[in-house]
């Protein structure tokens, strides 16, 4: 099973940024802009299912009875969904950062704020997944799931799109 998943993920990683260049013609700046849209799209796909799955699991455990049984059965899906979340977020982060670095001449405060917030969430996610220290894990689990940071990220993305279109 594992040997089948790895080539699929690898293929996905290579193909994910390509739609950005599909119908762009000669204008390189449009392609760079599309890279930003790829970052946003990938971010939505990576985070929505993961957040919904976790919320549903918590609700099911609290509700008990039949829902608790379903939540226990759904535990086996947690790891694949987590890996999907990590991989797509990494793709989105690097696509977003490449987009930012290539348009660094137009840097404004909103873009800088967005880059800082993305980096904080990315670092806390990496530390949460790969550190073995218990204290660091607890700290990053709390930080990574902070509603304030998630809200800030969404607000900055919306602002960035609105200001970028002008």
């Amino acid at each position: 099973m594992k040997t089948k998943i790895i080539p699929i993920i690898f293929l996905l990683l290579i193909l994910a940024p390509l739609p950005a260049f599909a119908d762009e013609g000669d204008d390189a700046e449009d392609a760079i802009e599309s890279l930003g849209w790829v970052a946003i799209g990938v971010g939505v796909i990576a985070n929505l299912p993961f957040i919904l799955f976790n919320k549903w699991r918590k609700y099911a455990v609290r509700a008990g009875g039949q829902s608790l049984l379903m939540a226990r059965q759904a535990v086996q899906f947690y790891k694949p969904i987590l890996n999907f979340h990590i991989i797509l977020n990494s793709v989105g982060y690097f696509a977003g950062m490449t987009h930012g670095l290539l348009l660094v001449n137009d840097l404004d405060s909103i873009s800088l704020s967005l880059a800082i917030t993305m980096t904080v969430l990315m670092i806390s996610g990496i530390l949460l997944r790969y550190t073995s220290s218990r204290n660091t894990k607890v700290f990053n689990r709390l930080l990574h799931g902070q509603f304030g940071l998630v809200f800030l990220l969404v607000a900055l993305i919306v602002l960035h799109v609105l200001v970028g279109d002008d």
Binding site: P17, A95, D106, L107, I110, L112, S113
Partner: protein, 109 residues
Amino acid sequence: MKALTLGLFLLLTLSVVTIPTIFADEDEDEWDDDDEREYEQRGSGDMEREQEREREREHEDDDDDEGLALGGGIPDAILYGTIAVIIGSVAYTGYKIYKVKKPKLSASR
């Protein structure tokens, strides 16, 4: 460790695939046949002067675009707000851990 190595390898592959594609059709600065003919016709001196003038024009355009850059009122407030929210989140997380651990420590004494 194996998963980390695999992850880093995948990210490196992605970067290698993504970055060169962006520059693939950027040929504005390339030296083509028309430029060479023009260079031969007009001589290198004229060409250099024209390039210098173009550089100056670009520099002036950059100066005009500074309205959106760092230093404005509301955009600056957004940046400071972001930094404040991040510091606040880190501090709040630390405080939450401290609050949970403190009763345990005092109970063990």
